[in-house]
Amino acid sequence: MEGYRSLQSQDTPLQSVELPPCTLRYLYARAGDSRTPSSQGQDYLAWRYAQDVLGFVVCDGVGGSFCGHIAAAYLGEQLLRFVFEVGPTWEAAGDTPALAEQAAHYLNSWRADGQRLVENVILPPNLPALQVQALEQLRQDYGSETMFVAGRLNFQTADILITLLWMGDVRVQLFDRTGQQLAIGATWRTADRWSTRHGVNKRGAQVHTWQGSAAELAIERLIAFSDGFSSVADRLPMLNDDQVQQLATQQLLAPTSDDISFLDVRLKQPDPVGPDARP
């Protein structure tokens, strides 16, 4: 088994990994105002490859909630486990409205444990009263909130089934062999958030799902990223490793910089077999 989990207190420069069925590139970088010794990035990025399945998660903790990094890391771990444990059932069922409902059920079931983590956070003793009031109100009213995209790429069959699950504006893009981006009917609404206090039930928040066959749709590539890269989304597929790293550095200098999580999965073409195979 191979994998990666971001440390929210530490950046990960662009890494490349060769796996049997795909090549992975990933990067984790904290925004300028998350780089003090006592603060942590609000994003969480993780992937795992086991038994011919690649699971990944990109979470973007909401800054204006109570310690968004807590929800990001907690939910990230839950989702990563989920795509391996529940993923096979989903693949068998196909992409139906019931899938989103079922996902919402799981997401809500993790709420209590998440809120327990939030309740156990002891605020630093030296915080001013106004800030304590602000944080306690967030803890009580919202809990810790995060947006996310989680995915499962099943390489066990020639079809390579891809299942995606998301809430919020963490983006995922799919590209076919010609480099054309596939429309997956995605909406990226920041109002769609998961919180330790409310689960997915706050103000009409929705869980979105997508499932498709890489073989059928000629999918060759998947890119997922948090909003630190949103403004340069169109450029990402064209960039080599150095350029991605440079772009991340540039983005972090911008006034509106946000944490960046980036994952780029390139599927390897199956070895040609049969009468058309070339020597």
């Binding site: 300028g32 998350s34 006592s38 800054g63 204006g64 106004l130 800030q131 109002a191 006034p255 946000d258």
Partner: protein
């Protein structure tokens, strides 16, 4: 004007409060004194600004705040402009009532501050003045100064002015969360309300979206004018002052 520049540590929003502390602020407002209602609303918006500036337990200086109380003279409550993280450390100053209502002097103070600050705010959100009063001015008419201020601006937009008019019977709102706001003078009965309305900017779309997230449903074209002595209206007015868009 777009009013789309986000308030960040590098491009903070400047919010200037002009607070009438004349003696009439001791009058009743929903079972409390007006000054108590305003102090409470001010505390709530300070908390909201801190929340909107917080990552983890770190407060990023996304807002810069100046606060002037005025009566027959103008008092600088914060001793200059303070970043929100510093205001969080200082706490919101306590308001006490004095005597007269020299509104023009307060606006003149804001104009001087803006003249000094605007050259440094070219990449920042348009500044906002939040004026709260409970009665007509003594002394000079503040309108010409307010109009000069509304003509000042940065690339993000002209300086915004909002007015909170704590006046008994000015308006009765049954549900503050669905109230569409004031759209025209025809909705107002007294002359000073109309004067203040003319000194009030239209709510920018970006602010309207943020207010929607806060649970308010102001209509497009609503003005930044909040008349009435219901504590909910006062609170809505102060909430507006902290609604500069920020990153999630």
């Amino acid at each position: 004007m777009p009013y789309n520049v986000l308030a960040t540590s590098k491009t903070p929003a400047l919010i200037i409060y002009l607070l009438d502390v004349s003696a009439s602020m001791n009058q009743d407002c929903g079972g409390r004194t007006r000054i108590d209602v305003v102090s409470h609303a001010l505390q709530k918006v300070a908390v909201k600004m801190v929340q909107r500036s917080t990552k983890g337990t770190i407060v990023a200086p996304r807002y810069r705040v100046a606060m002037y109380a005025y009566s027959s003279q103008v008092i600088d409550l914060l001793d200059g402009i303070k970043p929100i993280d510093e205001l969080a450390r200082m706490g919101v100053p306590r308001l006490t009532t004095l005597d007269m209502t020299d509104t023009a002097a307060a606006f003149a103070q804001a104009e001087r501050l803006l003249q000094a600050e605007l050259p440094n705010l070219q990449d920042c959100p348009a500044p906002l003045i939040c004026h709260m009063t409970d009665g007509e001015y003594n002394g000079a008419d503040p309108t010409p100064i307010a109009q000069r201020i509304m003509a000042m601006g940065v690339p993000d937009g002209q300086v915004l002015i909002e007015n909170i008019y704590v006046k008994a019977g000015a308006m009765s709102i049954s549900d503050i969360n669905t109230w569409p706001g004031i759209l025209s003078e025809d909705e107002l009965s007294d002359n000073y309300s109309k004067t203040l309305l003319r000194m009030s900017s239209v709510v920018p779309e970006s602010y309207r979206s943020v207010m929607y997230e806060f649970g308010y449903q102001l209509s497009p074209g609503a003005r930044m004018f909040f008349p009435g002595d219901q504590p909910e209206i006062v609170e809505l007015g102060f909430t507006m002052s902290g609604a500069t868009p920020v990153t999630a």
